[in-house]
């Protein structure tokens, strides 16, 4: 929801970054305010996933110039763990499998790390169990999920639901959902989308990264950005996504070239 006087949650200015010496982001600028849902679309290799990992603080990427401010603080100076506890959540495109660590333990430790960060008392196993059961219902997840090892042997759809379950528990200020729709059948897509919609409030924001317009039928964006070669080519409303679906990314590229030529 776009509101004029909302607080700016995330401000990215002219950001460039590389991995193993290869430049991936080349001067990207983006601002996200509270209550807004942004979608970034773009062809493979345009740098969408890289952007999400840089925002979350993945150590493999090096920022070469530009700035990122999160709630007025310099995000780039914060460790990944700090960013998470301050309210940045990344739903992974490929959630990692952690054999031997139960999902319930993982969720509880993550949840309590955040409580501790906020100066709140940690929840004991019983209170946490109550809390997590309620969140499971939201995502129509079977409680047996909790006793299994984190993502181990989960289907693609189960992994994605597990990501949203974590989001539901951690209540982030900014949720970055990296291809949350990939590998989902239509029923799972509906469950995941309604879960995300139920979690959006006027105080937080969502950044969707996707290839396909389909997801945006379920989670309606306020802005659609088209990314290519490490920067944002153009920004529009959700209609832009429909146009992309119909005409492909080349169309945006050509428009852009024309615009520069004029």
């Amino acid at each position: 929801m776009i509101r004029e006087n909302s607080e700016v949650i995330l401000s990215i200015q002219d950001l460039s970054a590389e991995v193993d010496g290869n430049p991936i982001l080349k001067g990207l600028t983006l601002e996200i305010k509270a209550g807004e849902v942004h979608a970034i679309m773009g062809p493979n290799g345009s740098g969408k996933s890289t952007l999400s990992k840089i925002l979350a603080g993945h150590p493999a990427y090096t920022v070469t110039s530009g700035s990122v401010t999160f709630h007025g603080k310099n995000l780039l100076e914060m460790e990944a763990e700090e960013r998470a506890k301050s309210g940045i959540f990344l739903a992974f495109q490929y959630p990692l499998e952690i054999p031997g660590v139960s999902n319930l333990d993982f969720l509880r430790v993550a949840y309590n790390a955040k409580r501790k960060h906020e100066g709140l008392e940690e929840l004991d196993a019983f209170d946490f169990d109550e809390l997590v059961q309620a969140k499971l219902e939201l995502l129509k997840m079977n409680p047996s999920f909790l006793s299994r090892s984190v993502n181990e042997g989960f289907s693609g759809g189960e992994k994605k639901r597990n990501e949203i379950l974590q989001m539901a528990l951690l209540e982030p200020k900014l949720a970055i959902l990296d291809e949350i729709d990939s590998g989902l059948d239509i029923d799972a897509l509906k469950v995941v989308s309604s879960g995300v919609n139920a979690l959006t409030t006027p105080d937080n924001a969502v950044l969707l990264i996707t290839h396909y317009q389909r997801l945006l039928n379920y989670i309606e964006p306020d802005y659609v950005h088209v990314m290519e070669a490490g920067r944002i080519l153009t920004t529009g409303s959700k209609e832009l996504a429909h146009e992309l679906e119909a005409r492909g990314y080349d169309w945006v590229r050509d428009e852009e070239v024309e615009a520069i030529a004029r």
């Binding site: 990692l96 660590v101 333990d105 993982f106 960060h117």
Partner: protein, 478 residues
Amino acid sequence: MTAAIQNLVNQPYKYGFVTNIESDTIPKGLSEDVIRLISAKKEEPEWMLEFRLRAYRQWLKMTEPTWQNATYPAIDYQDIIYYSAPKVTEKKKSLDEVDPELLDTFEKLGIPLSEQKRLTNVAVDAIFDSVSVATTFKEKLAEQGVIFCSISEAIREYPDLVRKYLGSVVPVADNYFAALNSAVFSDGSFVYIPKGTRCPMELSTYFRINNGETGQFERTLIVADEGSHVSYLEGCTAPMYDTNQLHAAVVELVTLDNAEIKYSTVQNWYAGDKEGKGGIYNFVTKRGLCQGVNSKISWTQVETGSAITWKYPSCVLVGDNSVGEFYSVALTNHYQQADTGTKMVHIGKNTKSTIVSKGISAGKSKNSYRGLVKFGPKAEGARNYSQCDSMLIGDTAQANTFPYIQVQNNTGKVEHEASTSKIGEDQLFYFQQRGISLEDAVSMMISGFCKDVFNQLPMEFAVEADRLLSLKLEGSVG
């Protein structure tokens, strides 16, 4: 990220201190005279001296094994002290008479021996260099007929029992290091559980090497008579020295009909420094004989220390329906080398064995599982299940698995499963992205990996082992 992890998990070896105590030490070197001297100091009967000399003469004819997956410079057996004991070695009736310096040492190691502080449900035999300095709860155990004392004392007090079983599981010439041990062993623990008795408390021996030039050669013998049950724990630490020290122990277990021994080890000998300098050579022969029908021997080991570990706690399943188990976690870091595993030798009918081995390798270490499963011609209906999992931390460590299977009859069933996993940057990032610290991430993954083994440890040890592993992974992730 690497630096952050280093700071988080960088814990120095906290048992590396040296106790300043006057010792009665035999000069370096090994000969028949030295063996006679050790035997004389311990006031041993003639048969014991003969046992030692027989072993020594065999040892002279043997050569050091080289097949293990570990490399180290040749050991000079003449440059080792074979006997070192704190002065005033006679054992005191009351612990209050034990040298306060020694009590203090064990207290620092977390093994309080004095009446007020000691653990209420664990009886401890404390061994310092070559001798046992104290054994707690002896009288209480004696009420049930349980014998728990140093092996030296047992040789004097219970010669018939010792003579019957010593060397019956691990013969004097079994292997190079066992032969050496049989010749020069200085102390260790002896346990006898009488018929039909369930030992009322955990028994444990704590081994401490103090002297920098001393080898420790301890000998443990546990006999569980018909229908009895005992759980025994062993812990080990040593000071930090730049030189390598030899620890060559022999442990023999015997179970008669329907008896059970559960033997747990948490081994934390000094492992050497980050560059691989110093540390203990832990060359140990441990073997259990399930002599009686329906008897059971279960080994659980958590191996985190030592520069080199060479040990294969084994079970010889002679009695029909007897059961052998081996649960192991071996963690190596820096330049540590571990070649460890088990042998399950099935001789009787319907014998069963289970092997669960978890190897964790970090730094530039080498970690090998080596195991033999053998079904003899008469082991009808024998079964074995083996699971060998390796976890690699970082890119420079090695994990190897060498399973040997020999089956001499066609009624048995052998299952073997193996896996290799890795704690990588992406997994750690996943934890951190959920606000979980590196320290917690590593410790959750390690405990998860080791869960099947830790579940086998007595409670106090399980918690300790869990903590120990996290601490050991000093700067190894990232």
